[in-house]
């Protein structure tokens, strides 16, 4: 059995109750899964805790138990490459590990960029990619790049074993994910990108680090010829309740000659599609203004990475 201790947290100012919960140290993956099953929805899985502990302290989440999986590094803290080029990122892989990984830097640089922009150094050192997904914040930096790479989330339960879900289906709403009470995320898988592909993640913040995205945009661009788009994928964050691919915009580009007019058209369609809100970080109006600019910026960045120059393509 995993050792369990009571954890007592101070109430936030203005709140009466002191939070007391069980703190379960899982020594093996099976123990974590067993604990999840026996807690039947009363427990939360804790890895880096950079979101969860704040939410508990604010009284937004009140689990009766925390299952700490930080000990399961052997099983879950690795980044591995399969024979056929698929990349598996374990549930305990931190943002710092993502940024530092050569294979990710070379093949999914947008993901490395996004992980490098999550919070500050401390957050990146303990915060995990899986945690960023499970928190399902509308402003999560890593979700757009994972969406454009069609990431697959692997969840596991004691009762039913492993199950794969497309990230797009895994995130069902603002801070809502498609996971059963007895399941936990164990890994994220990315397919190898095709040839002539580049990606980009552009983030808007008011300062250069420690920012929750005001808006973010990830793009993956695959060229079919010198000026012809094979496939363009784009996803945004902090522009609506859920990060989503913009399939109507993507459809405009499929098999088309990449021209300034087409980029303008795509950018403005994307600007019309998003449904941002006013919040303390920025107005909806600003987000509507900035997203088309990010779109164009991402096209330019992808082309630059591919070493392609297209005449007539305006910078802004």
């Amino acid at each position: 059995m995993s050792p369990t201790r009571p954890l007592i947290l101070l109430p936030p100012s203005g709140k009466r109750q002191v939070t007391v919960m069980d703190f379960i140290y899982a020594q093996k993956l099976e123990e974590a899964l067993d604990a999840l099953r026996s807690q039947a929805g009363r427990a939360k899985v804790l890895a880096g805790g950079t979101d969860l502990m704040i939410q508990i302290a604010r009284g937004e989440k009140q689990p009766q138990a925390l299952i700490f999986i930080g000990q399961l590094k052997d099983d879950l803290a690795t980044i591995s490459l399969s024979q056929d080029g698929y990349l598996n990122i374990g549930a305990l892989v931190t943002h710092r590990q993502i940024c530092a990984d050569r294979h990710i830097q070379a093949n999914y640089p947008a993901l490395a960029t996004a992980s490098a922009s999550v919070g500050g150094w401390q957050t990146q050192s303990v915060g995990t990619l899986a945690g960023n997904i499970c928190n399902a914040s509308p402003a999560a930096d890593t979700i757009p790049p994972l969406l454009v790479h069609e990431a697959v989330v692997t969840v596991q339960s004691a009762a039913r074993g492993l199950r794969d879900v497309l990230l797009e289906h895994f995130i069902t709403g603002r801070r809502q994910i498609a996971i059963e009470n007895d399941e936990m995320v164990v890994g994220i898988t990315l397919a190898p990108p095709p040839a002539d592909t580049a990606d980009a993640y552009l983030k808007v913040g008011r300062r250069k680090a420690m920012e929750v995205a005001i808006a973010g945009l990830a793009m993956r661009l695959t060229m079919a010829g010198p000026e012809t788009v094979g496939e363009l994928r784009v996803a945004t964050c902090a522009t609506g309740p859920v990060s989503r691919r913009a399939s109507e915009v993507e459809a405009l580009f499929s098999g088309q000659k990449l021209t300034n007019e087409l980029v303008t058209q795509g950018a403005s369609l994307l600007g019309r599609m998003i449904q941002p809100i006013d919040d303390t970080r920025a107005s909806a109006e600003y987000r509507k203004l900035v997203i088309p600019k990010l779109f164009r910026g991402a096209v330019l960045e992808c082309l630059a990475k591919l070493g392609i120059a297209i005449s007539g393509l305006e910078k802004s």
Binding site: L10, R206, R207
Partner: protein
């Protein structure tokens, strides 16, 4: 023994702070100590219909619950006595204290606060200065006229205006009537939170009829006096012991948690600790005030400013602090450092149902100087002339007067500052090498050194080390740890490692004006220098009989007393202290400092708290920025400061202050928005309130100019406050240069800038 003055000696308090050994208020533990929490108003304005603390008193661990009913029914204040300790019948701002609880644990006191039954009948708040000034506006303080105030200062108050000051020179209307061109601007300035690392906190004990207060505080005597006002006791019944302070920037000059902890300490007979949470600290901090400045200039056909109007309105919040003393700045800064012709100026400090505002580095001068400097760029652009050349043509020279009649004897230092910057960043080259959406700007100003008096005692220990006792702390500038230590070490020929400064204590030290307005190095330093000179004389007097010579022939250096006329003859300082002190008694010196009055025109400035700019210093700043067309974000590519300091006692310390002040100025210009909506802050945590990070701030290039002042210790003038005052305007003007559109507000958000770029595109 190398010279100490002028050398970058590392600061004495550095290692303790870096390694975590330094004790702060939060580290204090006393036997039986209780933990306190405050119930604050959840609304900006309303009548207290019901307040019942019975249930809270019965909660586990609770030792005392106090409200307005348990404290003297008085109003207190720094200068105007308008502030109750607890809201009594009505609340005037969101966050106003209503009750305080002490319990065995913090969790218990917070739980008890949440159990207090409070019912408030909300009233629509007078949420901003426009609402407060509107005809028929509800009066926030209907009994304003009856409030007491400190003697000797005139506060013209009426309606929702806590303080109004107006003055005009003859000929303003005539100047506008004959003007070739009139240029007018209105600038809006947001609030700025001091954002110190250490939230406010205190530990108070009540014993033998006296209160002992331990707080990281900038101005222990002011805190003592405020407690005495609130508690209706003698100031000497309060002992304030200053703790190491985790930053203040003007935010820790007045009372914070101390009166509440004091009342609870007396009620329970136990030591009481009260530390604000960050959210609470932000809500109740006396932040830099929001302001609106309207400036209007009459120009002749040659572009000379022949008349000027300058109206500056400042948001006081619900109660008054230090800002009510700042009216005179509108007189001193309405002209900037430029010739303007006759001026008409007005300052108003306006009550609103918002959290009270107060001092933040560059108190009230930041919006005023920013407005002038932004306006100067606007004038130059309207005239089609270069903003730097326009400034140079109209900058005050030596022996020209400010509107208060004060003579600036050495204003030509400004020209020297421009020339020094020109050497490392030639203006024409800066302009020529700009890329699209890059901009450059330059600006200049005068600033003051706070003139409050100081005292210091230097005691020489038997081992040849010295302790310096004073009533002020090292706020973090190094003014004590480097400045005062260096002054005493140099005067006594000691190694700076053997000179120790003692935390302030109102029971031990004589009155001191606190760590504010760049005064510590100058005022406490001067007092300490006098004290050290007295110590040195006493040492030489004690040595003379032992060396069988006259004291006049002796000098003290390198821990030895030397005979000037017989260089081989010397005696160790410790020998004197061991032997001589038996005959002479222990060696202690005391010193004091008070600024000499500056002649001014009493016709305009009489009755002002600051009728003059004491110890003027001169400043020129230059910035280069790049605007991102995609996001509207601004990157500061280069920032240069040329600053007059009198004498650089410790160049590294000064560079650090310049870097820090500019960082806060850039933060104010670009990152830090503390917006008020319906009387409430929109930014309520450091997640929402964006302080700039190290990665957002360039390394500031600092040029230190030295013109030693007669009165300062080794010629030093105030240094640490002013690096902030020009930065917001210079950043604004550089953006103006980059995008060609003036924005007329600070902070400048990416939203403002992107929207301006769109406007420019469609125009």
């Amino acid at each position: 023994m190398p010279e100490v003055i002028g050398r970058s000696v590392p600061r004495a308090d550095g290692p303790g702070k870096v390694t975590g050994q330094t004790l702060y208020t939060a580290d204090i533990e006393h036997k039986g100590m209780l933990h306190a929490a405050i119930l604050r108003s959840p609304v900006p304005a309303g009548k207290i219909v019901r307040l019942n603390v019975d249930k809270a008193r019965q909660m586990p661990g609770v030792k005392a619950v106090v409200t307005a009913a348990d404290v003297p029914n008085v109003r207190a204040g720094w200068a105007l006595f308008d502030t109750p300790m607890f809201a009594r019948d009505e609340v005037l701002f969101e966050g106003e204290p209503i009750a305080a609880v002490a319990a065995t644990t913090l969790a218990q006191s917070r739980a008890a606060v949440a159990a207090i039954e409070l019912e408030i009948q909300e009233i629509p708040p007078v949420g901003d200065i426009d609402m407060a000034l509107a005809a028929g506006a509800r009066l926030i303080h209907p009994k304003l006229a009856q409030y007491g105030s400190v003697p000797g200062i005139v506060f013209n108050r009426e309606g929702n205006v806590a303080c109004k000051y107006a003055y005009e020179e003859p000929g303003v209307d005539e100047a506008f009537a004959r003007a070739d061109r009139i240029i007018e601007d209105t600038y809006d300035f947001g609030r700025q939170y001091q954002g110190y690392l250490e939230p406010k906190g205190t530990v108070v004990q009540y014993r033998d009829g006296r209160y002992t207060v331990q707080s990281g505080h900038q101005y222990v005597f002011n805190l003592r006096d405020r407690l005495a006002q609130f508690l209706q006791i003698k100031p000497s019944d309060v002992r304030v012991q200053g703790m190491a302070i985790g930053g203040g920037f003007g935010g820790k000059l007045d009372f914070g948690p101390e009166p509440y902890a004091a009342v609870l300490a007396k009620a329970t007979g136990k030591p009481v600790k009260l530390i604000f949470s960050r959210e609470e600290d932000l809500l109740a901090a006396t932040v830099r005030e929001g302001a609106r400045v309207r400036v209007r200039s009459a120009l002749d056909k040659d572009g000379n400013i022949i008349g000027r109007e300058f109206f500056t309105d400042h948001d006081n919040g619900a109660y008054s602090g230090e800002l009510i003393l700042m009216a005179g700045l509108a007189l001193m800064f309405c002209r900037g450092v430029y010739r303007t012709g006759p001026i008409r100026t007005q300052f108003r400090l306006i009550y609103t149902n918002t959290s009270p505002t107060g001092a933040y580095r560059g108190v009230s001068g930041v919006p005023m100087i920013s407005a002038i400097e932004c306006h100067m760029d606007h004038i130059a652009r309207e005239l089609g002339v270069d903003p730097r050349a326009y400034r140079l043509a109209h900058t005050l020279n030596n022996n020209e007067k400010l509107p208060n009649g004060q003579m600036l004897h050495d204003a030509a230092i400004l020209m020297e500052a421009y020339a020094e910057i020109e050497k490392i960043a030639p203006w024409e080259e800066m302009k020529r090498t700009k890329k699209p959406l890059e901009g450059v700007a330059i600006g200049s100003t005068v600033w003051l050194t706070n003139p409050l008096p100081a005292s210091a005692t230097v005691k020489l220990n038997e081992d040849g080390s010295a302790h310096v006792l004073s009533g002020t702390c090292d706020i973090g500038t190094g003014a004590m740890a480097q400045g005062v230590v260096g002054i005493v070490a140099q005067t006594l020929g000691l190694d700076p490692a053997n000179v120790h400064v003692v935390q302030p204590d109102t029971d031990v030290a004589a009155y001191d004006g606190g760590s504010q307005g760049s005064r510590t190095t100058r005022a406490v330093g001067r007092a300490a220098e006098h004290a050290a000179i007295e110590v040195r004389q006493k040492v030489l007097d004690a040595a003379a009989p032992l060396m069988q010579t006259e004291a006049a022939r002796l000098t003290l250096s390198g821990g030895k007393i030397h005979d000037i006329e017989d260089p081989g003859k010397a005696i160790g300082l410790t020998d004197i202290l061991m032997m001589g002190a038996f005959a002479s008694g222990p060696i202690v010196g005391t010193g004091k400092h008070a600024e000499q009055p500056i002649p001014f025109d009493p016709g305009c400035a009489a009755g002002l708290a600051f009728p003059t700019l004491p110890t003027p210093t001169y400043h020129v700043h230059m910035a280069k920025v790049a605007v991102c067309p995609m996001t509207g974000n601004v990157e500061v590519k280069r920032y240069i400061v040329a600053q007059e300091v009198g004498k650089a006692l410790n160049p590294q310390g000064i560079s650090g202050q310049i870097q820090g002040g500019v960082a806060q100025g850039i933060g104010y210009a670009l990152h830090e928005g503390l917006r008020v909506k319906d009387g409430r802050y929109m930014e309520r945590s450091l997640e929402a309130y964006r302080l700039p990070l190290a990665v957002d701030i360039p390394e500031v290039e600092a040029i230190i100019l030295e013109h030693p002042a007669d009165e300062g210790p080794f010629g030093a003038k105030g240094t640490a406050e002013p690096p902030i005052v020009l930065a917001p305007a210079v950043i604004h003007n550089a953006i103006y240069d980059a995008i060609g559109v003036p924005l007329n507000s600070i902070p400048l958000t990416p939203e403002n800038i992107l929207e301006a770029l769109e406007r420019r595109k469609s125009a």
